[in-house]
């Protein structure tokens, strides 16, 4: 070491060095506001409200570990959407509340005819009930021939309703389901 180096010189040089390396504490204080989506998982989805079907990006914290419960911390528009190009209306902008609401339905509820209260049932029970009703309705209303005796194989007492958030794959399956049962009337959210 240089023998003429005084304590004062050392302090000066140290300060210079740390500043050169960017160890200035002032910018650190200025950038104290942390970006809350800096380490989130991004999931692309579609807004469930109207029929425009704007795309959204859902920001979730939690790395999908066994002991980590993921939480949605932010939802904003997806710039890749040709429909909305990253923008959202006030309803779409509030989707985080929709996802995290304590009043959100996460399991099927059933209210039997004549009952006043809803009751929780399992998915299996719900699916069985729905299948039973669809089958019974179809058995009652299925027409093989019309009044002139022409073969029609149609079902007109059941309606199929689609929605804007259904993907192409879901719509393909819905169509298969519809034609499989012979359902004629169908409706979608964009006309409701």
């Amino acid at each position: 070491m240089d023998a003429t180096l005084t304590r004062r010189d050392l302090a000066k040089r140290a300060a210079l060095l740390t500043t050169a390396f960017g160890f200035d504490l002032r910018p650190a204080a200025a950038a104290a506001r942390e970006l809350k989506i800096a380490r989130t998982t991004q999931t692309h989805s579609v807004c469930p409200y109207c029929a425009v079907g704007c795309s959204v990006v859902i920001h979730t914290i939690g790395d999908r570990s066994k002991n980590v419960k993921p939480a949605v911390v932010h939802i904003e528009g997806d710039p890749e959407s040709p429909v909305s190009r990253g923008t959202l209306c006030p309803k779409g902008a509030s989707l985080k509340e929709f996802v995290n609401s304590d009043r959100r339905l996460t399991e099927p509820l059933y209210r039997a005819p004549g009952e006043s209260a809803w009751r929780r049932i399992s998915w299996d029970e719900a699916l069985n009930k729905m299948a039973r009703r669809i089958k019974d309705t179809r058995d009652r209303g299925f027409e093989t021939h019309d009044a002139q005796g022409r073969l029609v194989n149609r079902l007109t007492n059941t309606v199929l309703i689609g929605g804007c958030t259904d993907t192409n794959e879901v719509n393909f399956l819905l169509s298969k389901f519809r034609f499989g049962l012979g359902i004629l009337p169908y409706e979608n959210q964009s006309r409701l």
Binding site: A29, A30, A31, A32, R33, E34, L35, K36, A38, H74, I75, E76, G77, S84, G86, T87, L88, C89, P90, G92, A93, S94, K96, E97
Partner: protein, 269 residues
Amino acid sequence: MTTVAKLIDTTLCIGCKACEVACQEWNDQEFTLGTFDGTYQTMPDLAPNFWNLIKFNEFERDGQLSWLMSKYQCMHCADPGCLRACPAPGAIVQLKNGIVDFVHDNCIGCGYCITGCPFDVPRLSPVSKKVYKCSLCSDRTSVGMTPACIKTCPTSCLTFGARDELLRKAEIRAETLRADGDADAGIYNPEGVGGTNVIYVLREASAPQKYGLPKDPTIPWTLSLWKGPVKWLGSLVLAGGILGTFFHYIRFGPREYKDESDRPENPAV
């Protein structure tokens, strides 16, 4: 670093309030019930947890009710009155890109910034005893994202970018509006506060009061008085007092009594 700005083209606003919601969501504001006062406005006024209010200023145009939309929020002045008034070091900072941000760790809740603001924007929270306002999403802009309100705006009434560029864009837009018959269209970028980083395009630029914007906002002159001359005069008087006492003691020393009867009696305990 380039100075950033937000351009609000009030003629394009449809009053959907998506920016209000996006602001609340991004800043994780707690839900509070709005106040219904017979207008379409969410609230009558800004709040400590509500930093961005779309104002539906009602007026009559051709015998019909019409609205002059405005976005009531922090204007991010080039010469911020709040920053001048703030006595707590580091509580209000002006970032290099022009954003005026509050650092709540340093805020002492004195509320001087509220009186210093020519636009009446900061709001004191009765819970945390600190003052809150729009940060122009300094957390987002610092990593190159646009503020939440601007990203969500469906009509592109809000845009964000370099200030010079946006001013040019605003000028072009105002010119288009004037050519289309709105003779009074213009830009709101008041000089009294050194220009603002939130720039408006107004249809009636000669009367910004109609939009709830002050016509010639200035920082109160009393502010520069007590932050300037009064402050150092006060320090001078204080230092003079201490110095005077010291020299008086050196010159005359402690008071001496000739005998005990001269000494004032001890007051009753």
